[in-house]
Symmetry: C2
Subunit: 252 residues, 2 copies
């Protein structure tokens, strides 16, 4: 049995607490947050504290606070030589105070409040200097059902950047389409099967092989027509031109 | 029973032929292509012709050829006053020769050779001047199991443009992420659950509400770090900056 203390009650903290609490090989020993939290039914029996000097003894402490708060929080921890990990994509492991054994347990997924997710779909990127610590983190990932990968800090930064492209930027392309269709009284639902299929295709085929459309086949007439349609949307026109150029560079 | 002749044997032609051939209320009367086609098992009993002057009598003729070939092909058809439709997202209905009753039957989906798709996931955008013709096209869409929408030519152009954003451009963002991770020996598979979740989220929640990440929350430190990581990728850096700007404009 691995005993865990979770620090923080944002999206990642809540989702992790729920997953740990359900896993049969893990015990959620304690949950810390600097302020009181709204009660969550499935977590009502987990001991809670808002006193950082009052953390229980455990095998791992998982820090789930905002990037800018990680370093200070790891300084405020009073004990030494225990395994303390953070869950951020962009903060280096070395930002954690070195009085403890350091590690990273980064769930690469978009976790939203109120939207349940199975951890089968949440890959965990693991980092730790010590081999035994890596094994413990690996066991935690396995216990909550997650795929796991060993990722160094410099690789994790790139992964986080890549995640912005496939998640935030992709979502903004959806938003642009929503705006374009709304303005012509077209039901955005018409595009939803295409959105689903595009992401499904790339699960098996490389994005390079999946590409189709006017940019790839050099269909100048259609590209010109599209750019004309975007006359009233200067930013979207630039995005169209730049991504068309990028596709042509990739496939040219 | 509705009798149909399909004209063309590209992706759309093949997928449509298969769907029509399977639908119990439809008969695929004949299949035309200008050159001989590779035999497809499920379509081996469908009468084939490569002579445009030799088309059978039918209730609908569905033209599935490249955009630039539609107009000439509709001129080459010898009969009059029958229902002839094309399947293109960007060609206006009026480009069809007016000696026949004109219409559009545009499947808004990414159809690839060799990848089977259920037409439940292929919305059909229908256009026709005549009410009865619209009804016939609607019946065909229903028979193959597709959701159907009545869409005018000017709306269809916008839909096609929006489809480029959610399909081709999104796929290019996947490609960029693939390149970034590959160059650091990171397994692209780590990002696949996030890709799936991003497209899934937007099926129920608007893209506006789904947005998260450094651009939306104005996390300048992370944005700066990301831009620095893209120093060796000038086009991707521009895409990062432009899409970050676009998200901030949407949510600012």
């Amino acid at each position: 049995m691995i005993n865990i203390v979770v620090i923080g009650a944002g999206n990642v903290g809540i989702h992790l607490c729920k997953a740990i609490n359900k896993a049969k090989d893990l015990t959620l020993k304690q949950w810390y947050n600097r302020s009181k939290i709204h009660k969550i039914d499935s977590l009502k029996d987990v001991p809670f504290t808002n006193d950082i000097t009052n953390l229980e003894k455990a095998d791992i402490y998982i820090i789930c606070v905002s990037d800018s708060a990680i370093e200070n929080l790891s300084n405020d921890i009073q004990f030494k030589n225990r395994l303390v990990v953070h869950t951020s994509g962009s903060v280096p492991m070395r930002n954690l105070n070195k009085k403890n054994r350091r590690g990273v347990f980064y769930p690469l997924q978009s976790l939203s409040k109120g939207i349940e997710i199975s951890f089968i779909n949440v890959p965990i990127c693991i980092e730790a200097n010590d081999k035994k610590d890596r094994q413990i983190l690996q066991m935690v990932a396995t216990a909550i059902g997650s795929p796991k990968y060993f990722i160094q800090s410099d690789q994790r930064k790139i992964l986080h950047l890549a995640a912005v492209f496939v998640n935030n930027f992709t979502n903004q392309l959806y938003r642009i389409s929503h705006e374009l269709t709304d303005n012509k009284n077209i039901n955005f639902d018409i595009l939803k099967p295409l959105i689903a299929e595009t992401s499904k295709k790339v699960q098996k085929l490389s994005p390079y092989k999946s590409q189709t459309g006017p940019a790839k086949r050099g269909d100048k007439k259609t590209i010109k027509q599209h750019i004309k349609l975007l006359e009233d949307y200067p930013t979207y026109k630039k995005i169209y031109e730049l991504l068309t150029h990028s596709i042509q560079k990739t496939h040219g």
